[in-house]
Every structure is written in C-alpha cells, then in structure tokens.
C-alpha cells in the first residue's frame, strides 16, 4: 500500500476520568480498502470510531481525514468532510419519528438538494438495495425488526454515496443469510464505487470474507494492522485465542473452502 492514507490516526489518547481507553494509538486507513477492526468487548473500538468521525474529542493526538486535521477545522469545513462519510451505528440510530424512506431521503433533500419526490424515489431504491422489501419503506423504525433496522441504517449511510463508510457491527443481529448478503453487497459497492470501509465487527465470517486488512485493538492500542494471514500469524495470546479458537478456526476453514470451490 503506497497510496497516501485517507485517514491517519497518530498517537491518539482517549481517557474518561481515570479510565484509559486508548494510549498512543496509531492507525491508517487507505483508499479503497475494507479495514476490519476487531478487539475484545470494551477495548475501545466504538470509541475509536467515534473519535475518527468527530463525535468525540480525543484527549490528545491527531486524526487526519483526507489530509486535514479534523480538530483544527471550522465547523463549516468539518460539515463538508462529514458529508463524505457514511456511518452505520451499532443500534441503527434511525430517526424514530420518520418512516424508513424519509430516514434515507433526509440527507438527499438536505445535502443533495433533491426534491422530496425525487429523494423518496431514490430512497426506496436504496432501501431495496440494502435488502428491504418495498412495503417496508413506509414503516416507522418501531414497527420493524432489529435486522431490518440494520438494513435501513445501511441504506441511510449509503444515501449520499459516501467515500468512507464507517460500520459499527453491521452484521450483529442479522441472520446468517442476511449477513452473507450484507458481505456481498459491501464487496460489490466497494468494487463499483471505490468505497473505503472502516468496519468494526465481531463477526469472524465477515472478517474472513470481505476485509483486506485487519486491525487488532488490544491493550489500549493497535497491536497489528495488516493482511489477515499476517495478523493470524502474530505471536500474541489474545490474537491466538481470537483467530485460533473454535469459532475462528471454523470461519477460517469456511473461507478457505469457499475459495477452493
């Protein structure tokens, strides 16, 4: 990877009171790659994501996005950069007072300047692309299942065709068929649109199927961020348990099996 990094995190420190979440954390995200971020519960994956997208001001350290330091930008410039992000939150974070199609259309109306009719038309297609049936478009988030909320949230994060997609556990709560479809969709979009994806996940299958690189978050920093083979071979107790435990082995075998056939 010789291309300049799209996101450069350097010496990031995050503290909440006396609790240290990140200590001198470095991470790069390159254009067009799918980076999987793994780590134990409470290892600060979501905190890292929130710091990068600017929802959380880090205690110290620098975060460069598109070559600009996020913390030293005016709010207008930040908003312009944020428009190039798509974010899928862990629990969807759909607006509960809007229907699904309005949820997706909101950004299209506000930022892309579409008329309501155009925006909702496009929103329905995006919902369909994310795997939702047509009649779901007029439902409210409270009326649909958790898996459907995830899909609708994906459709919303893709609304503006962002350059970087941040996904916080996108396949958690999806059935295996839906999760596999999600993986395929992610690959298709990445190939066709040149998306860059920052993927926080616990799903080993997703990790083996779609990720170009994997960053392991443990002991308050990134232990290793590299291709999966390199990460697997890293000599570390936690990594060994993670990738060579029963679940890790199964997912790895499944991935190899798929490649062979």
């Amino acid at each position: 990877m010789t291309a300049p990094a799209l996101i450069r995190v350097r010496e990031l420190v995050n503290r909440f009171g006396s609790q240290r979440v990140h200590e001198n954390l470095d991470l790069d995200l390159y254009r067009g790659e799918i980076l999987g971020v793994v780590g134990g519960s409470g290892s600060g994956k979501s905190v890292l994501l929130r710091s990068i997208i600017g929802l959380l001001r880090p205690t110290s350290g620098s975060i460069e996005v598109f070559g600009q330091d996020f913390q030293h930008l005016s709010s207008v410039q930040r908003a312009q950069i944020e428009r190039r992000f798509g974010v899928l939150f862990q629990r969807g974070a759909l607006f509960s007072s809007l229907t699904l199609q309005e949820n997706v259309a909101l950004a299209l109306i506000e930022h892309a300047g579409l008329t309501r009719d155009d925006a909702e038309h496009l929103a329905r297609s995006k919902l369909a692309l994310a795997g939702l049936p047509g009649e779901a478009a007029l439902k409210y988030p409270a009326e649909i299942s958790g898996g459907m909320i995830k899909r609708a949230a994906l459709a919303r994060s893709l609304a503006l065709d962002p350059e970087i997609l941040f996904l916080d556990e996108p396949t958690a709560g999806l059935d295996p068929i839906g999760a596999a479809a999600f993986d395929r969709l992610l690959l298709t979009l990445r190939d066709a649109l040149g998306l860059t994806v920052f993927l926080v996940t616990h799903d080993l299958d997703t990790l083996y199927t779609v990720c170009d690189r994997v960053a392991v978050l443990a002991r308050r920093r990134v232990l290793v961020a590299d291709r999966l083979e390199v990460v697997e071979a890293t000599d570390d107790d936690w990594i060994r348990d993670y990738f060579h435990g029963p679940r890790g082995r199964a997912a790895s075998e499944a991935a190899h099996y798929k490649e062979e056939s």
């Binding site: 509960s96 300047g113 579409l114 329905r124 297609s125 369909a128 009649e135 065709d161 350059e163 066709a192």
Partner: protein, 381 residues
Amino acid sequence: MTEADRPSQPGRIEHQAQGVLCFSGDWTLPHYAMLRRQVERFTDRRSTDRDVVDLSRLGALDTAGAVLLVELIGTEQLAHLQTWAPKLPAERQALLCSVADAVAASSPLESGRALPVRDFLGATGQQVESLWQQQRLLLGFIGQVLVVLARLIWHPSRWRLTALVSQIHRTGLNALPIVALLTFLVGAVVAFLGTTVLRDFGATIYTVNLVAFAFLREFGVLLAAILLAGRTASAFTAQLGAMKANEELDAIRTLGLDPIELLVLPRVLAMIVTLPILTFVGMLSGMLGGAMVCSLALDISAFHFLSILQRDIPLEHLLVGISKAPLFAFLVGVIGCLEGFKVSGSAQSVGEHTTSSVVQSIFMVILLDALAALFFMEMGW
C-alpha cells in the same frame, strides 16, 4: 473516484440511429434530478425494448445513477448484461446487477388517494373510540393497582420502603419550594382581587375570609395537584416509557416480578403521601401571600388576620380541602404510570404519551374538583 480533476459532465442519453441508446457522462447523485427527468422522457418514448444499449461511454457511476439506468433499461434486459455489454468493467456489471435484483425484488408502492370528508369522519370516529378505550383502560388499570395494593398490604415484608421514600423525596420534597412560591403568589393575587371588589362595599375586611376560604377549600389542593400533574405525572410517564421502550418492563415480567408492584405502587403511594403535605403547605403559603397583601394594602396586621381566621373559619374547610388530596394524588399517579406503559418504542411515542398524561391528569383533577365542590355544597359541609 468522485474527486476526479475534470469537471463533472452530467449524464446524457442519446438516441442514435438503428435504435441504439447511447449513455454518456457522469451518472451520479449531483445530477440526479436532471437525469431522472431525462429517464422519464425516454421511458415514455421508448416503444419497444428491443433497443440496443451502449454503455461504453459511461463516465462516473454511483448507486443513484445505477438505479436510474436500471429503471430505463429494465431488469429483464439487465439480467443478461454479460452478453450485450461484455466490455463493461466487472465491478460495474456487479453494481448494475445488484441494483437490478433489488429493484426487481421490491414491489412498487401504490398510494391510494382518500376523500377529505371521509378522512375527517374516520379521524373523528377514531378519536371518539380511542377516548372510550382510554377510559376503559384507565378503569382497568386502577382496578389492577388496587388489587395489587390489597394483596400487598398483608405482607409488610414485601413493602418497598426504599423505593417509596426515594419517590417521596423526588415527588414531594423537591416540589415543596415551587408549590410554596406559586401558592404564595396566587394568594396575593386573590387578596388583591378581593380588595378591589370589596372596597366598593366598604367590606375590605372580608378579604381575609375570601383568601382563607379559597385556599382551604379549593386553591391549595387544586394548585398543588396541578403542579404535581405537570411535574410528576410527566416524569412518571417518561421514566416508565423509556423503560418500556428499552424492554425493561418485559425483563421485569420474565423475572417473575410484577411491574405494578415494583414500579407503580411506590410511585402512586408516594403521591398519596406527598400531595396532602404539599396541599397543607400550599394552603399556608397562599394565606401568607394574602396576609402580606392585607398588611401592606389594607392595614390589616398579621395578628388581626390570624384572629379573624380563628374567629370565622371553622376547621372543616381545611378537612374538606385536604380530603380531596389523596384522591387527586392517586389519579395523577395512576394516569402518569399508565401512559408510561402505553409507550410503544419510539422517542415520539414517549413525547406523545407524556403530553397526554399531563393533559389527562389536569383534566381529571379539575373535573373531580368541580364534582366535589357540588357534592360538598349540597351536603352543607
């Protein structure tokens, strides 16, 4: 990809000879509105779908553009994209195919237009029906709470004193200053009104009786109850509503516990304890406000005020006023909790039910107070 240096060329459709549709330019979100108009024009004009489609000059393409292309070309033709556009890069083929699959899988929406008159009648009917349902539900819930209370009263070991005391602290102690201030001000206003009207008759001394009557019988309890309805019923609804939305109430039930016993009873009982106290404080504070106006505007000293009170106002007025407090407290608490149970998941629903709980409880308090006034008057109390 969207950061290309050349200026973005809006996408175009050209109808070339021999029925060849040629697509060129960027099919991206910034040009969406214009592209959609073009696509609609071509969809109308397109007589047969035997046209040859040429995608070789296509510029940038994103999902918005892909959706439009799919709509124009049609999903059947895209199904064998490979055969007629083999030179299209594989990733674009994949994008078009997945969009085509998605569009084919989702059925179009039909939106029925309704008549305004029928809508109005329907909405009216729904309102009336929901009003009726609401009252039925309230009566049922009151019954449930009473049953749980009756069952629990024989088991002192299951009384939840900690929760009760905590609720009394929150609903009662914290509300004391605001109740005192508000009734003090209203007391002063009533005294001013009395002074203005009674001065013409030279009977300003009766201002004392007016303030005492008003606050002992009606205003003390009414103001305190309305304040609790606004302050506490809404808090109950929001608390229980958020718990309901977070499935905490279901969790309580699956643990074999009773949400009414755990959550509703401590709240309702706390209200029943605190409202009489708040009412008493309200009465005193209101009369204090009246006494202040009397001493400043009418030269009736505090000592004189007290002696008139002692001479003219029998204790039963205080009893009439305070006897209504537990009833109001029960209703306000029960309505607040019931509305919380009715919340259905969304943030908007929490808001709607909080509003509804305040409106309902204030309405009920005033309605009951009017009925009680009639009753007490007829009884000659």
